[in-house]
């Protein structure tokens, strides 16, 4: 910014309400109907000292304006023009953009692309109307804000300011932290960032201090007039007190000051008085850096483990999940690695015949819906890398580039645009140099190229490449030497996939752990490994004690104190039957006993005379009220292990896969409560059916299309709320109209047998158990 503070304006909505705008009406409509009243507010702020006004367009998006009779473009054009006329020369007009008013998936139903589209419509209209910059305000979802910033940067030439709303806890309502905001928005290249709304100046000051350590961008501060009286919603702080409380911001690196809810021209006048003779403090450079999701930041000030398990290479089950779009399986891999102690998750979805960019976006979103770990986008395809970088929430790592010019020129601009860190592999078109010096030379080349693209040195991580020691024994030492050189001479973070070292050897773990320990000692700080291997993670934990990173060995002690507790697993009873194992939900025992049975009986006999009857007994007990839903699900999960054993046996002799039939399941359009449907899915799958789960908020035509494509005889629909049952009826009608011959079962808290029949369903399913009964009736 400049050598003076930029004085912003205060609240707009409440000023308009004071001028007669009815509560509940869109303030933006006045841009068309009462422009003079809006202009009067702008003028009052300018008179009070404002040098940058925000247009009256906060909610001028197509979602919030629906039904008001005006388009976003009309009200934005009117709003910008009236503001420019009102403020006169020397005062800038920002296109003010607030939240869309609907949450993005997974919390809500709006897609990232729709959000982008909504913002694109606004920012292009704003630029066309002559706005001087785009100002996103009051955002609490970093992902929504990312859609907005990208829309502004990709479709206009305007500077972009972004400000979020935080609670005193240092998080937004959706969990975004100050560092995550700083890293993500800084990476996307906004021109200024900061805070507005929700709190008063005193409460926001500590957050300003924190932000200044994470970004060098100018900081914006627009607090509320203190906290509102809960009973009335009114603010009681005076203008003078507000301005006094704002004063410390001058020393903290703030460059633009104004007010939000409850502030008036009087407040801005008082703020102007406080700031007019001050100059913004010269800030020390931000000293903290890292990668992040919206809710979690990982600083690279010690060993940080990158989990390698989201990768189809050499993993049949993972490949199957990718081909079938089974996100639950992949999400479970994410959760498992986080629980095992991973700090960052590598995401690789490269599989021949698959649309890698589309799958990358889908998997990144699925992973982030259940894990708050930062993500590493692992692909060599620039399109897949970009799809992943767009989809990711937070600041990611790209894995990888190498020393080839063409690769550097394809990938580095993407890293720069989305603000990602990048892994550089020390190889090029001539392969991997056999010496540490050769690899170091490539590392230097990669660093130069990155710097050339404007990527800071701290964001370049070098992978000196692990080669299999059983094949190239001399290379282990070269790799370790290269790691040390890159660390010491270039001062860069280093990445290394360690598992590969022991390939082809027996008792691999010993070699892997030994190599890992040596690499850590050589300066490796970003090992890529399988965190589910306890010995490997134990080695990391031990290293963190020895390096001093784990202060007072606290994490180490906690890790092994917890490990001792879990050692008490009772030995399986010798005379256990499949019935008991399933009834008690014992997975390993069920699998073992099924294996044993398969040695003596045919596969289908095992299914029909052992597994299904065992499940039936559990089902009967559930219906009699002797056991309850969690136990029913546990039993079904255990039985699933039995079915898996059967499937494996059949696959081994090359036979047809067993499935008792296919069922399409969906939570209907408009409904986001999907736990009921998910329970039904688990139970049906564990009864041996193949479930095509379409998810939640599913449009009728999607259900019809899936039913026809998969040629299913049974469709299950779920709706939790009275308001979404009509969508269920619509879906049933669409299925009937399609002429596809299938039965429909429905369930949900507000449904009854009678109601189900009235909306045209074939079956009413009271609970998950009954859905399995219906499936048997329809599919056998």
């Amino acid at each position: 910014m400049e050598d003076k503070f930029i004085i912003l304006d205060g609240a707009m909505g409440t000023m308009l309400q004071a001028a007669g705008l009815p509560v509940g009406q869109s303030p933006e409509v006045w841009n068309a109907t009462d422009p003079e009243k809006v202009a009067a507010v702008h003028r009052q702020y300018v008179d009070a000292g404002t040098r940058l006004v925000c247009s009256n367009t906060f909610g001028a998006n197509r979602h919030k304006l629906a039904g008001c009779g005006y388009s976003p473009a009309e009200l934005i054009a009117a709003g910008i023009q009236l503001a420019k006329k009102a403020v006169g020369p020397g005062v800038k007009v920002a296109l003010d953009v607030g939240p869309i008013g609907q949450l993005l998936a997974p919390l809500g139903t709006l897609s990232f692309e729709e959000a982008y589209d909504i913002f694109q419509e606004m920012v292009t209209a704003g630029e066309a109307a002559g706005a001087d910059l785009v100002f996103f305000e009051t955002m609490s979802d970093l992902y929504e804000l990312k859609a907005g910033v990208l829309a502004a940067k990709e479709n206009t030439r305007l500077p972009v300011w972004a400000s979020m709303t935080f609670e005193a806890s240092g998080r937004t309502f959706l969990g975004t932290t100050v560092p995550a905001m700083a890293l993500t928005l800084g990476g996307l290249g906004v021109d200024a960032m900061g805070f507005n709304c929700s709190l008063g100046p005193e409460e926001l000051m500590p957050l300003v201090e924190e932000l200044a350590r994470w970004t060098d961008k100018p900081i914006i501060l627009k607090p509320n007039a203190g906290l509102p009286d809960p009973a009335t919603g009114k603010y009681h702080t005076t203008a003078i007190d507000f301005a006094k409380a704002m004063a410390p911001a001058a020393e903290l690196g703030v460059g633009a000051v104004g007010g939000c809810c409850g502030t008036t021209p009087d407040f801005i006048r008082a703020v102007t008085d406080v700031f007019k003779d001050k100059t913004p403090a010269v800030r020390s450079k931000a000293d903290r850096r890292g990668v992040c999701s919206a809710a979690r930041t990982v600083e690279l000030d010690g060993v940080r483990v990158i989990g390698e398990r989201i990768n189809p290479t050499g993993k049949k089950r993972f490949q199957q999940a990718l081909r079938e779009g089974d996100m639950d399986y992949i999400m479970a891999r994410a959760v498992e690695q986080q629980d095992a102690g991973a700090d960052i998750l590598d995401v690789n979805v490269g599989l021949p015949g698959l649309d890698e960019p589309a799958m990358m976006a889908k998997v990144v979103r699925a992973v982030q819906s259940v894990s708050d770990l930062p993500v590493q986008i692992d692909s060599s395809d620039p399109a897949a890398v970009e799809a992943g970088l767009r989809a990711v929430n937070g600041r990611a790592i790209v894995n990888s580039v190498n020393g080839e010019r063409a690769v550097l020129d394809a990938i580095l601009p993407l890293c720069k645009k989305y603000g990602a860190a990048v892994v550089g592999l020390t190889m090029d078109k001539n392969g991997i140099p056999p010496t540490a010096e050769g690899r170091f030379a490539i590392a230097e080349r990669i660093l130069d190229a990155a710097l050339g693209y404007g990527i800071p040195k701290e964001d370049v991580y070098i992978d000196c490449l692990t080669l299999t020691v059983s094949a190239q024994q001399d290379q282990a030492a070269e790799t370790l030497k290269a790691v040390r050189m890159v660390r010491e001479k270039l001062g860069l973070h280093t990445v290394l996939g360690v598992s590969n070292i022991s390939f082809g050897l027996p008792a691999r773990e010993h070699v892997t752990v030994s190599f890992l320990t040596q690499a850590l000692a050589a300066g490796l700080d970003l090992p890529i490994l399988n965190p589910n291997q306890a010995a490997v993670m134990d080695a990391v934990a031990a290293y963190q004690v020895l390096s001093g990173e784990d202060k007072d060995s606290a994490a180490y002690i906690e890790r092994f104190a917890a490990a001792q507790e879990t050692k008490m697993v009772s030995a399986p009873e010798a005379d256990m039957t499949l019935d008991t194992a399933i009834a008690k939900g014992m997975k390993a025992e069920t699998a073992a006993l099924t294996e044993k049975a398969l040695d003596a009986m045919g596969e289908m006999d095992v299914v029909n005379t052992l597994l299904i009857p065992a499940l039936d007994k559990v089902g009967d007990r559930y219906e009699r009220g002797e056991i309850f839903l969690p136990q029913l699900i546990n039993a079904a999960n255990a039985a699933c292990e039995g079915f898996e054993a059967v499937k494996k046996r059949i696959a081994r002799r090359g036979g047809e896969a067993v499935s008792r039939g296919k069922i399409v399941l969906a939570t209907v359009q408009g409904d986001i409560h999907d736990i009921g449907k998910n329970i039904v899915r688990v139970v049906l799958e564990n009864y041996g059916y193949t479930v095509i789960d379409l998810g939640r908020d599913v449009a009728p035509e999607t259900v019809v299309e899936a039913a026809i494509r998969e040629d299913v005889r049974l469709v299950g629909l779920s709706a939790l709320m009275t308001t979404t049952v009509p969508a269920m009826e619509k879906t049933i009608r669409a299925l009937r109209a399609s002429g596809h011959d299938c039965k429909v079962m429905v369930g949900g808290a507000v449904l009854t047998e009678e109601y189900a029949m009235a909306i045209g369903a074939d079956y009413y399913s009271r609970d998950a158990k009954q859905s399995a009964d219906i499936a048997r009736l329809v599919l056998g």
């Binding site: 009815p22 509560v23 509940g24 008013g101 609907q102 949450l103 997974p106 919390l107 809500g108 139903t109 009051t138 609490s140 709303t165 806890s169 937004t172 309502f173 959706l174 969990g175 709304c197 809960p230 009973a231 009335t232 919603g233 639950d328 999400m331 479970a332 959760v335 498992e336 819906s369 259940v370 894990s371 708050d372 939900g585 009220g625 056991i627 309850f628 839903l629 969690p630 136990q631 699900i633 999960n637 359009q669 408009g670 409904d671 986001i672 409560h673 736990i675 998910n678 329970i679 908020d697 709320m721 009275t722 308001t723 969508a727 808290a749 507000v750 449904l751 009854t752 009678e754 109601y755």
Partner: protein, 222 residues
């Protein structure tokens, strides 16, 4: 009056789970303990409330919001003011639930029930605070859209009046459902004289037909 989550009512959570009888299975009880601890740590309870005068036509003064239906009208009989409230466990509880569903559906079912009881606890705690704050006035019980004949759609209007999106981060989907999912809106009548509860018990509940608790001879107590 800070919104708080102080714990969960085991009986309430067990009712949500459909567990009958007074002795829950030991593993379910242990899981409830575990999820209570997890929610106490993870959830970020938030609440917002406002006090309105009740106009003779049933509208809340200064707004265009008029609670619809016979049941809420009866519930507010004798009240000249109304508290409008909304409470939530925050987005973190949704994330925890989604995450648990991919790990272990049986545990997710128990967590879902625990979270349901937790958001009620936040409401109960807020109501206790309100009773103290508004004393010596008397407060009715909570009445939410979807109870009796009050349409669930009015949840949206209540969110708008309370500006829940800005104040506590509770928004609406296009279908009018609240996000985060573990959120509640409710009305509480305020009067200067004590009065009989006009709730009318089970018969007025929208869930009357298929309520498992009622069929088992119980009541959720509303």
């Amino acid at each position: 009056m800070e919104p708080r989550l102080t714990g969960i009512d085991r009986q309430e959570a067990l009712r949500y789970l459909g567990v009958r009888g007074d002795r829950p299975p030991a593993d379910v009880a242990a899981s409830l303990d575990k999820w209570e601890a997890a929610l106490l740590k993870t959830a970020r309870p938030r609440a917002v409330w406002r006090l309105f005068d009740l106009m003779p036509d049933g509208t809340l003064a200064g707004t265009t919001f008029r609670p619809a239906g016979e049941d809420i009208r009866r519930h507010l009989t004798g009240c000249d003011r109304v508290v409008l409230m909304a409470a939530t466990l925050g987005a973190e509880a949704d994330v925890l639930l989604r995450r648990t569903q991919v790990e272990d559906m049986a545990q997710a079912v128990i967590l879902d029930a625990a979270a349901g009881a937790a958001v009620e606890n936040v409401c109960d705690d807020l109501c206790a605070g309100l009773a103290a704050e508004l004393a010596p006035a008397f407060l009715t019980g909570r009445f939410s859209p979807g109870y009796g004949d009050m349409p669930l759609e009015q949840q949206g209007e209540m969110c708008r009046v309370l500006d829940t999106a800005r104040r506590i981060g509770v928004g609406l989907t296009p279908g009018g459902l609240m996000t985060p999912m573990k959120s509640v809106t409710a009305l509480i009548g305020v009067s200067d004289t004590p009065r009989e509860e006009g709730g009318g018990g089970c018969k007025n509940c929208a869930q009357y037909e298929n309520c498992g608790i009622r069929k088992a001879g119980g009541s959720c107590g509303r």
